[in-house]
Symmetry: C2
Subunit: 273 residues, 2 copies
């Protein structure tokens, strides 16, 4: 399979489309896989969403997302566990092999980052048997350190990998997202170390200036500062041969006509190799 055949459109890139419209867009543009999000899946209904992707012959490269494990209140932690178990079942129903985890920021009311990290490890441990029972792998995603306080205290691929390594490889892996990890001097070494633990590879570019909401500062591949080819080569050398998602959170991209976005995604994808 060429790299082009491994292109997956993460639904967040065309955030304003529902599942049927996003699926149709992929079909129209010859994109063979899609990364789904739970909210639009729920909006359509799980069974209908699963039927839509199957009818279109699309692979589901991942389901986004589980996580947000860090809560001071035990009841909130239990609710997060239940919600993540539901997400695993949804991933299985959709035929997604990977559930992406955004693990959570500091515990509200606490500055103890080690506490947040322990809470995440405990929560993932509880999900392992559920993931194994459903044949879904949990993908721990390291987020850029600018999100450490409020979204994810797991800030480097190496850290995600150390965490994943505490659990069986058939249940827990890591996500490599170029936007979050491109700056890391240890990236190549950590990708090599990750090997078969890589369960998702997502690409988008780092552009400047950062927008008012730093969550929405991502660019199309090639529009920014990231040197993709060495990263993609390292991911391939590590043994990852799955779909490669283009996931872009950006108000301008969302405002563009989806067919233009799909064309741009297809056209820029080869720049990642």
């Amino acid at each position: 399979m060429t790299a082009d055949g491994r292109l997956s459109l993460n639904q967040a890139t065309v955030k304003r489309l529902g599942v049927p419209e996003a699926v149709a867009l992929c079909a129209r543009h010859g994109i063979g896989a899609i990364g789904l999000w739970r909210e639009p899946v729920a909006e359509l209904g799980l069974a209908a969403a699963a039927a839509a992707v199957r009818a279109a012959g699309l692979r589901v490269s991942s389901l986004c997302r589980g996580g947000f494990f860090t809560h001071a209140d035990p009841a909130a932690r239990a609710a997060a566990a239940a919600d993540n178990k539901a997400a695993i079942a949804e991933a299985a129903a959709l035929g997604a092999g990977t559930l992406v985890l955004v693990s959570g920021g500091l515990v509200p009311g606490s500055r103890d980052i080690a506490l947040a990290r322990r809470m995440i490890a405990d929560a993932i441990g509880e999900l392992v048997p559920v993931a194994q029972a459903h044949g879904v792998r949990l993908g721990i995603e390291a987020l850029h350190p600018m999100f450490a306080a409020d979204r994810c205290v797991i800030t480097r691929l190496g850290e995600a990998l150390d965490l994943a390594g505490q659990f069986p490889a058939d249940a827990v892996g890591v996500v490599v997202d170029t936007y979050h990890v491109w700056w890391d001097a240890a990236l190549a070494a950590d990708i090599a170390r990750a090997g078969k633990r890589i369960v998702s590879y997502q690409v988008c570019d780092w552009i400047l200036p950062l927008p008012a909401d730093p969550l929405l500062g991502r660019g199309h591949v090639g529009d920014g500062y990231i040197d993709f080819p060495p990263i993609s080569a390292a991911v391939a050398a590590a043994g990852y041969a799955g779909d490669i998602e283009v996931e872009i959170f950006n108000e301008d991209v969302w405002a563009a006509p989806p067919d233009e976005t799909a064309k741009k995604v297809r056209a820029s994808f080869p720049l990642a190799f």
Copy 2:
């Protein structure tokens, strides 16, 4: 010396003051040290600035800053080298033992982050004999990864330390700035490994939301998310016993009356321990 006696006001915290006003502010508030910046020093004149701090009995904890070594044009690299040599001489004249280095982002026109890192190592190597001749130590500062593209490709304390370790310890050390490194799971280990290579410790807080200019999003100690006491304890255990700078880039802080800022800095400083 108590921690309180080690408080240094980095001049950037009261950016609108010239050297004489900043020195007088420190004297008025019983702050025994100051971190100076080259631009206001040049505005007053080097000799006059040195005389002002000496007359007030202030220690000069550091001079900010050198660096910005990454240029595509050899002439620009040579100019940066010359400017950094001048900065070393200025630090010596001011009695500052440390020149803080912000090393530079990607080389303009290139996405090769390894190239930028090699260029920085080469540039620092050229400065080593000059630093030794002047009795000044170069402090490599790891900047937060959100500045990797445009300001500093050295993004972690461990990376700064690996770089510093290529050179003699009397010439090159590392700066620990809480704002830039607080999120790093390896921080405690890297501080311990740094030991006597730590040549500056700077504190300010991570606050949210990030402002439009992410350079200016720093908060007073205690106003944000950073858990200072374990970091300060690790820095002390590593053997650093020098001044501790409060360095806050923030438009609101700059707009406040300097005496109010100095009071707030003094009052919040104990929260860092």
